[in-house]
């Protein structure tokens, strides 16, 4: 009886997750039809097109924005995770506070930054009413705004696994370091940081992969000037109607994500945190 319980899930996943992906795989090897859609002949042309400088630029931007966002999340998130791990009784409260924004709507969270960053947004209004600027600063619709949006949305993804790692550190190790003459900064550098490596790895992966495949954030905050792979894919399947090309890009994106994840899963400690 119990095996039958797995059937609905298996069916649904097979039909509406696996099969679609298989179709995408197939499409990536076909040719664009005249009125959208796909048709034979089979070809690798779509993948070849990705090597075009225009598209390579998009892939490159996705990579470096994701890397930068990950680095910022690590930089900003590590001290926060450290603070929470040392917070004693209030640990859970702080964790809830970190997670709370995450449980609101992603769309709303991203939209909030439009409200803050645009020409008539909060920052520009405040700065100009204080007489600090004559013209509004172009804070929105660029790579920087996308970066802010990504960091804002995915910071909790870094803080959580890092917190888990730091929490598990043996407190007597820190005491031993102090006992042996290490001041707090030295203890941080020589003991805490090396031992929190698994947390860094897990956190970095949990941020990098969603950033790589981001669509909504570059769409709303980048305004067409900061195109990432996700936007490219969406465009191919709607306006541009070039499904084979869009499918090829999708597969490359998936491949990159899968490879990264697999590399991390090899480390047992990082795996436990994800």
């Amino acid at each position: 009886m119990r095996r039958a319980l797995l059937l609905p899930a298996r069916l649904w996943i097979a039909l509406f997750f696996a099969a679609p992906l298989a179709i995408i795989c197939a499409y990536s090897l076909l040719t664009r039809g005249d009125y959208g859609g796909v048709e034979t002949p089979w070809t690798l042309e779509s993948f070849a097109r990705l090597a075009d400088p225009l598209y390579l630029a998009i892939l490159w931007r996705s990579l470096w924005i994701s890397t930068l966002a990950t680095a910022l999340c690590a930089l900003l998130g590590f001290p926060l995770a450290l603070f929470i791990a040392r917070a004693g009784r209030h640990k859970n409260l702080y964790l809830q506070l970190v997670l709370l924004p995450f449980w609101t709507s992603f769309l709303v969270r991203t939209y909030a930054w439009i409200f803050i960053l645009r020409d008539t947004g909060l920052i520009n209004t405040v700065l100009s009413s204080l007489g600090l600027i004559a013209k509004p600063l172009p804070l929105l619709y660029n790579d920087g705004a996308v970066l802010i949006g990504l960091v804002y949305n995915f910071l909790p993804f870094f803080v959580l696994p890092m917190f888990a790692t730091l929490e598990r550190l043996d407190p007597s190790l820190m005491e031993a370091a102090a006992d042996l003459g290490a001041r707090p900064l030295s203890t941080l550098r020589r003991v805490i940081l090396p031992l929190s490596a698994p947390g860094f790895v897990a956190g970095a992966v949990l941020v990098f992969i969603p950033c790589l495949g981001a669509y909504l954030t570059p769409d709303l905050l980048g305004g067409g000037k900061s195109v990432m792979v996700g936007n490219l894919i969406q465009n191919q399947f709607t306006t541009a109607r070039d499904w084979p090309f869009g499918s090829a890009a999708s597969l490359i994106l998936m491949l990159a994500s899968a490879v990264l994840l697999a590399a991390v899963m090899r480390s047992r400690t990082a795996r436990e945190l994800i």
Binding site: P8, I23, P79, P101, R118, L155, I233
Partner: protein, 258 residues
């Protein structure tokens, strides 16, 4: 001194995380259109509630979320329970993969599937396709929540029940199900929120007249900052917040493992 430095930084970091939403909520009560404060007002809330597009979007979202959450909770709970008892590496692998797959890829792949099948079935994109898609990506969330709860369950309890004469189904119904009931409710609420909030996948597989609330909001946000969006956002934040708090509460109360 260093301890205070860390505490101050963390306070700022937490402020950074919460400020944008607080700003939205505060300005949703602004009488003025933009970011110049012109006094308290509920004007935009009234405008939001009077907007027919928003009302339609809300209705669609609610319908989709309720159906998708119910079905995915059933399927997901069954799957989690099945995997607790039997190894199912392919299923758990694909569920995991579905969580890691970028939403844009899930969305376009489903679009491709639907367009391909609709050549033979003479159907078109609409609420049904949205619901199907939502169920597909929600199952993984439900399974994770239930699996986590089941991991703390003692398998021998069901065996004891069967030893005392219960069938497999009765053992589940009378022993395990009551134990995981709070987790099931929590998972259901989670599925509800995840479905309600989805934009990317929904926008790709929805038809012309089956816009959900996020799609309406997106369109408004794209056109420019409409203060109505502020009001709607504030309402969504509060609604989601309440649902999630209930869900967390259910899972927390359920802390004692058996």
């Amino acid at each position: 001194m260093r301890k205070h430095l860390l505490a101050t930084y963390s306070a700022l970091a937490l402020l950074f995380l919460h400020a944008p939403l607080l700003i939205l909520i505060v300005f949703s009560f602004n009488a003025g259109r933009f970011t110049r404060w012109e006094g308290l007002s509920l004007h935009w809330y009234r405008a939001a509630m009077a907007d027919p597009q928003l009302a339609d979007g809300l209705l669609n979202s609610v319908i989709v979320a309720l159906i998708a959450a119910t079905v995915s909770t059933l399927i997901g709970t069954a799957a989690a329970y099945g995997m607790w008892r039997h190894r199912a590496p392919w299923l758990s692998g694909s569920l995991y993969l579905s969580l890691v797959t970028p939403e844009i890829v899930t969305g376009v792949s489903l679009l491709a599937l639907f367009q391909w099948t609709f050549r033979f079935l003479h159907l078109h994109l609409g609420l049904a396709t949205v619901i199907i898609a939502h169920i597909a990506f929600s199952i993984a969330y439900v399974t994770i929540v239930i699996s986590a709860r089941l991991r703390n369950c003692d398998r021998s309890l069901e065996e004891a029940a069967m030893d005392l004469g219960a069938t497999e189904w009765a053992a589940f119904r009378r022993v395990t199900l009551p134990l995981i009931a709070p987790a099931v409710a929590a998972a259901g609420l989670l599925a509800l929120v995840v479905s309600f909030d989805d934009y990317v996948i929904t926008s790709l597989v929805a038809g012309v007249d089956s816009e959900t609330l996020p799609m309406v909001i997106y369109a408004m946000a794209r056109r420019g900052v409409s203060p109505v969006v502020n009001a709607v956002s504030a309402l969504i934040v509060v609604a989601f917040g309440i649902i999630i708090l209930i869900s967390q509460h259910l899972q927390a109360e359920d802390e004692s493992p058996t």
